[in-house]
Amino acid sequence: MNNKDNFFKGIIKENPLFVSLLGMCPSLAVTTSFENALGMTMGVFFVLVLSNLLISLIMNNKKLAEMVKPVRIPVYIVVIATLVTIVEMVMHAFTPALYFSLGVFIPLIVVNCIILGRAEAFASDNKPVASLIDGAGMALGYGLAIMSISIFREFLGKGTLTIWGDLQLNLNFVFDFLKIEPIAMFVQPVGAFLTFGLILAAITAIANNHKNKLAKEVKNNG
């Protein structure tokens, strides 16, 4: 697999959230606003890219890999937990509002299945550069997925779109035009499942349609 395919597979074909259904718990919890989703994406991007790179560097050293193999999962956890703690400290210092908003879901990145999954399934068996690209693609795929959920949830639930801090788009004119109020349910847990389910259904429908078209073409061409 070339670097381009390696990068883009995480965004579409093997999207961790919409295709593999990994890391759903924090994703649904932090998507109440676009800003939260963006902050989470940055945190996961930093952790996933660097953990993939470091774990690949460790496992590509033959001598070191042999010693690490029996304790590889604790090693992965130590590396990931260190990176997550760095994210937590930096976020607390420089973006305190986001830090308090994301709350417990920042330290929970340590046990996010996507990160440990990529470490074991990809980084441990591949070269450092390929692992770094895989991490970047997966993190971006995850980020795009939670950001798309958050756009729907924040718009439908509050009528706004919080980009960052005070930078907020007020889209309430849509609701004013329709003479209805924003639907608060969408920023509550039930709204998270509903939005996720609807987006997943749409993606599955598009994918199935595409598959059927391909199958038809193959059949027609003999």
Binding site: M67, K69, T82, I86, M89, V90, H92, F94, P96, Q188
Partner: protein, 178 residues
């Protein structure tokens, strides 16, 4: 090389040590900024009660349900003008207590109060944040106004006032070990 548990354990220990060193370096740079941020949040709340520039403010760590206690003395004097208590009590949420700042003047009048942390039921408990509980003197809660439908949370707020009322006289008389 024949691997045994000891070698693997030592490698894990070494990696752990390297990570520990890395974290202490990051902590060295971020800890002062985090302290500044936390102080700013705390003092922004206090600024709503008093003009901070007029006072010398000292802090004492509270015990039990009390967090930091802020002692306000008029600049250049040793007389306590007011005390702001950080106090917690159990509300509706099992996991997180309701936390308040209660500012009491030396004549026992309540200057102001603010709920600074709570995880009560959204849409109900959250009503308490800006509610006026009708408490003007700390040792007289006879006129306390509960929020209807939010009994447990209202009781937690009342408990906070009661806890402060029980110790304020002693604290103003020099009971606080600064």
């Amino acid at each position: 090389m024949k691997n045994n548990g000891l070698v693997s354990g030592l490698v894990l220990l070494t990696i752990g040590l390297v990570c520990g060193i890395l974290l202490s370096v990051v902590n060295y740079f971020t800890a002062p900024i985090i302290k500044e941020v936390e102080d700013a949040i705390k003092y922004a709340a206090l600024e709503e009660f008093y003009t901070l520039a007029n006072y010398d403010i000292s802090e004492v760590s509270g015990e039990g349900d009390f967090g930091t206690i802020f002692i306000f003395k008029e600049k250049g004097t040793e007389t306590i003008n007011a005390i702001v208590y950080t106090v917690r009590a159990q509300g509706y949420s099992d996991s997180t207590k309701v936390e308040m700042l209660i500012a009491v003047n030396s004549d026992l009048t309540v200057e102001d109060y603010k709920v600074v942390s709570q995880q009560e039921t959204t849409g109900f408990g959250a009503d308490i944040v800006d509610n006026d509980f009708n408490v003007s003197v700390i040792d007289d809660l006879s006129g306390f106004d509960s929020v209807s439908g939010v009994t447990k949370t209202s009781n937690a707020i009342k408990t906070c006032f009661t806890l402060v009322g029980e110790r304020i006289a002693s604290d103003l008389g020099g009971g606080l070990n600064e």
